[in-house]
Symmetry: C2
Subunit: 197 residues, 2 copies
């Protein structure tokens, strides 16, 4: 194990991410994370003031490791609205499985913790921005279905792509990530794009 020399803070973050992924974001307590990090429960509080703060830090840590910006590049480079939409859904759909554990934990923490709700809201607004850009690109191309205003279309796409829907389709309905991406693309195209017979 190379974990001996890593800074404690990082070791906690890694343990957190690992355990949350393992348990689908449920039932992971501060004590469990401490044990996994091989320190005392109180030592965790020396680095993170609260469970929520730790979860938020874990999210940021994961974003860094997974290099979100690189993943989003193809979508941003798209030359048409239709392409941009498809690539955005592809990127996001392949990203969710990687962050699901931490996302779920943060999602659950929302119920009791104001700060967790704010942190998640923040992330989701960033995601909405991607949806808005895709819809805006369609709109600019003149390929956005006339029934939808850009604002309403953005809201609808945003909602469709929310993490709990991914969870429902993959975990409850048994879809593969590949199927999720494929069918979400179909749905979005048929719904928002003109002429996609």
């Amino acid at each position: 194990m190379s974990s001996e020399n890593i800074e404690t803070r990082t070791r906690i973050l890694e343990a957190t991410v690992r355990m949350l992924e393992e348990h689908g974001g449920r039932g992971v307590r501060m004590g469990d994370i401490a044990k996994e990090s091989e320190i005392s429960r109180q030592a965790v509080y020396l680095h993170f003031a609260s469970r929520t703060e730790l979860l938020v830090a874990a999210t940021r840590y994961l974003d860094e490791v997974l290099d979100v910006d690189r993943r989003l590049a193809p979508s941003r480079a798209a030359t048409s609205g239709v392409e941009r939409l498809a690539l955005y859904i592809e990127c996001w759909g392949n990203y969710i499985p990687d962050i699901f554990g931490v996302a779920k934990a943060l999602l659950l923490a929302q119920d009791t913790d104001e700060a967790a709700a704010a942190a998640w809201q923040d992330r989701m607004l960033a995601m909405r921005e991607g949806c808005r850009a895709a819809i805006e690109a369609l709109h600019a191309d003149g390929t956005l279905t006339p029934e939808w205003s850009p604002k309403k279309a953005t809201d609808a796409l945003w909602t469709m792509l929310l993490v709990p829907n991914w969870e429902h389709l993959t975990i409850k309905c048994g879809w593969s990530t590949k199927a999720y991406v494929r069918y979400m693309k179909t749905l979005a195209q048929r719904t928002f794009v003109v002429d996609s017979k």
Copy 2:
């Protein structure tokens, strides 16, 4: 107040529904419900073994009061798949606001309580059945888009119509219930129905 003579059990259920609606299903404790029912906290446990059991009973009570079957009748009487789909979305979309408080509380209880998860799952399976019937009707008419198998289409429609999505669109995005119904119909028709130019 006519509440003096009503049976305690019913008084508890009414208080529960009232408080949950008022508070959007969050932060309502057994003690609060007891106070609202004008009895002691322990007396609530004389009628319901646990918070979850009370929530489930409140759901059933509400279903009875709201007469779900009557509401669903128009959809069941539809003569085409397209009509059935539209009427189902209409019925469901107008139903959610009435049950939201209780639904949300049950949804939140899922995280910690196995039984709550099962109860909610049950309700959602009933809802899925409505989705399946609508999609099946399209399929029978030959108007289901060829990209979708009936099973996949059912899963997708089911997911779209989940309560948290309604919450997101109305509460977070500020849509009215009318807009929700209208745009969900649009989305479903464009996605699942052939020839809906």
